[in-house]
Symmetry: C2
Subunit: 499 residues, 2 copies
């Protein structure tokens, strides 16, 4: 199968260039001096152009076609399947369209930022209309069976469709929204007086973040921890994974839970199969599965009572005198405050998915042509009132809060919720296999859970499609039930409320 070897060689060069682009991006966000920005844009544009030319190379198309009728094993099939999709995606868009869209996104980034800054949607309105128009055209170029929105969803999680998502979000809407209302009506709010009004030194927050990340199993010989304005996990490959967090000396939770979130992404990247280096089959399996790994450690583990029991002594070590009256139960309640809020990124485990559901419903209508651009801002507010019982006081806290639309990233949001659902489903299955799971977490023994994720998720790369991977790992197709059940039980313990 010389053609397969040749295809792998082409894919290897594409991956090398992408790895380099990833490092350039990390450097830009974390340590580049500010005047380096304009030439860095040139570096990244050159990498994009080089990668695009290589993916579009007709030779790749020929190699793929020649291999489709061969007798391939599951890894070979995955490499051919994924590279075929990459090649088709890259070649189906006319060059002029790609360039025009890139220019529009660049312009829209500025008008969105200005509109948000000035709280004036009219500044962004025309560009948003153009983005919707071009995104609809992109969906037509990609092609779809049922909804044009499917073509967009598929970019971020292969095989994701409206038909799959509708029941997931309906399940969440029907279960979580009433729970949130019950909490509100209960009038109970956990006390976290111990957090307010004192300084939380950055150095101590850093030590706590480092210690927890090491305990989870992130390998610092194959990665780094840094700080950046927007926390993220990047780096070129499994031997060099770099995550960041940010520190706010007025409160200590953001950096720790950010660190656990990015550590989750980081352990996934470090666990990708080394034998499939430079191959599409060795990549992480889409954004939903990636988010499952981050939310698992941030929420399912990080905001659990057993974890709080383990981590409290570390808090006391790194912040001497600050937590003398804090019990594991108090810590646990402090990190699990549930309340409706305007900003998605600051929301809690329960309301987070309502934020996503609202965006999902809006995007679907926007792409299917069921809503005019001028109707979107008020419709946004209506949804917030309907599902969270609050109305944003302005557009900045409403429709202008997220960067995704000005980047043309429509179809991306749902993967955040998929991550939460997958995390719950995976943890349920893992607990069936790991004896005394809670006791292990309580004693800081995270190795069995990480090993389970390695075997079931990380080692499998992108050999399967995401939904198939979740089914293989858990024995069941993706479902919202484990998450709803997890959340109901947690809320019941926190607030004494039964759904």
């Amino acid at each position: 199968m010389q053609n397969y070897i040749d295809l792998l060689e082409e894919l290897r060069e594409i991956d090398l260039a992408n790895q380099i682009g990833s490092l350039l991006g990390w450097d830009q966000e974390v340590i580049m001096p500010k005047n380096g920005a304009s030439s860095r844009a040139e570096h990244l544009a050159w990498i994009s152009k080089t990668v695009h030319e290589k993916i579009c190379n007709p030779r790749i198309g020929e190699l793929i076609t020649s291999l489709e009728n061969e007798d391939l094993d599951e890894i070979q099939s995955a490499n051919v399947r994924i590279s075929k999709r990459m090649h088709e995606r890259a070649t189906c868009l006319p060059t002029e369209f790609v360039e025009e869209f890139a220019r529009l996104r660049s312009k829209a980034h500025h008008t969105w930022a200005e509109a948000r800054e000035k709280d004036d949607i009219s500044i962004f309105r025309d560009d948003l209309a153009k983005i919707l128009d071009m995104t609809r055209r992109k969906a037509e170029y990609f092609g779809y069976t049922d909804s044009p929105y499917d073509a967009l969803l598929d970019q971020y999680e292969t095989g994701l469709t409206v038909t799959r998502l509708d029941p997931l979000f309906q399940g969440l809407r029907n279960s979580v929204s009433p729970l949130v209302r019950l909490i509100l009506e209960s009038g109970i709010t956990p006390s976290d007086d111990w957090v307010d009004g004192v300084d939380w030194p950055k150095e101590s927050q850093e030590m706590l973040s480092q210690k927890v990340s090491e305990a989870i199993g992130f390998d610092f010989n194959s990665g780094r921890r840094d700080s950046s304005i927007h926390p993220f996990c990047g780096g070129p490959n499994p031997q060099d994974v770099r995550w960041t967090t940010r520190y706010d000396e007025s409160e200590p939770f953001g950096s720790l839970f950010g660190s656990m979130h990015e550590t989750g992404h980081g352990t996934y990247e470090q666990g990708r199969p080394k034998t499939l280096a430079y191959q599409p089959a060795g990549k992480a399996c889409g954004l939903g599965v990636h988010e499952s790994q981050s939310r698992l450690w941030e929420n399912q583990i990080g905001r659990s009572l057993p974890f709080c029991e383990w981590v409290l002594p570390l808090w006391k070590d790194y912040f001497p005198g600050r937590l003398e009256d804090v019990t594991p139960e108090v810590l646990w309640r402090s990190v699990n405050k549930i309340q409706p809020s305007y900003i998605r990124t600051e929301s809690d485990e329960a309301t987070y998915n309502i934020h996503i559901m609202i965006r999902y419903e809006l995007e679907k209508m926007m792409i299917e042509g069921d809503v005019e651009v001028d109707e979107i801002p008020d419709m946004w507010d209506d949804y917030y009132q309907r599902y969270l019982g609050i109305t944003p006081p302005n557009r900045k806290l409403g429709v202008l809060q997220d960067i995704h639309w000005c980047m043309g990233a429509i179809g991306y949001f749902p993967t955040y919720t998929l991550g939460n659902l997958y995390a719950a489903q995976l943890l349920d299955s893992a607990k069936e296999d790991i004896a005394d799971h809670d006791e292990k977490i309580r004693s800081g023994n995270f190795a069995p859970l990480l090993a389970w994720m390695r075997g079931k998720i990380h080692d499998r790369g992108s050999i399967l499609e995401p939904a198939d991977l979740i089914e293989e790992a858990t024995g069941r197709p993706p479902s919202p039930e484990p998450f709803v059940s997890y959340l109901s039980s947690k809320i019941s313990r926190l607030y004494g409320i039964k759904s």
Copy 2:
């Protein structure tokens, strides 16, 4: 001149790829996690291959040929001249030769390191013989008029030849070697008791390095300071220049003078002409001129009495209580200890060039075929005895100390001495133009000197060949006299010795 525009576009892509390679290299030396090494080698190899393919592109050769008879201005001429040399150098070596040499260098790096570690030259002997053989063949491929060594020198400083270097080194040998002997015979050694036996905290060294670099005029919005095992100056372009130093808490000079050295390189890189971005004519003018900028700030300025007068209060601020009895004169004598030593990189201003001269004489014979590989180690020792009056006690402190030969970098050493000579000649000229130069240094006003270097050297990029640039800047061809005169006068003041 569409062909000129087309050529610039080809050159721009080559430069972008090289800029990216430079950042990858910086990252590797400074912050990459250790397990990232093997894939980083793949990244760098991919960049090298991509650059090599682009430089060898026959289209570049055609464009250059079409432009050679056009009426070009000095910048256009420089771009055509330099790109022609790049293209010819890249295409004149057979691909098999390039690959074989790369493999040999990689192997030789290991045998050299092991030989040095075990102080056993026999481990490195065969690879050194092969390197000499391949380097001689490379010189034949490049072509030359007089000596094959000329073809090698020209790689690092265009136009450099044995005919130019012989009188320079002869001048140094005749003037500096007797001075060193006189110092030794005088028996005078400056006292620096204040340095020994106390800790020099890294944080304080860092603050001093930072403050001095800022004072010289390095722009930290367009660059960074970091630490690395081997100090260097890198980064992709003038807007993003990154230098490093290293800290030893048992002595405070290494980090400061290292910082001033790299700051000198850094100001040169930051001062390259912005209008010639991505063009060969906008690059620094070879290694000799680069080294002139680093040695200027490290030695001519950094080890001068006026500078010591300015910097002493900073020392006292950052190391409180440590320098109570230290006067500017004591500081000045402490940073100007002259004594023969075995290791080039640790040697003083006077003996440094003797170390280089010895390597130059050896390399010339090695390449011209006047010495057998087995004669080199003892010949090395003989030269050290003849010119510095000392005989290395082992090979580690002798012929095995430097990395250059195992890297195939023969012809590189002389640029270090050229840098020293150019620095002295440039400073002499600058002093003619800058009123009260010493007083300005004494008051920490380094701007006039930096501005002079900007106008005469940095702004000129590679528009001229190095020797022509020095002549344009100083009104005289490169000469050893300013350096010899500077050194004689300094030694006379330090040791009361007249040559």
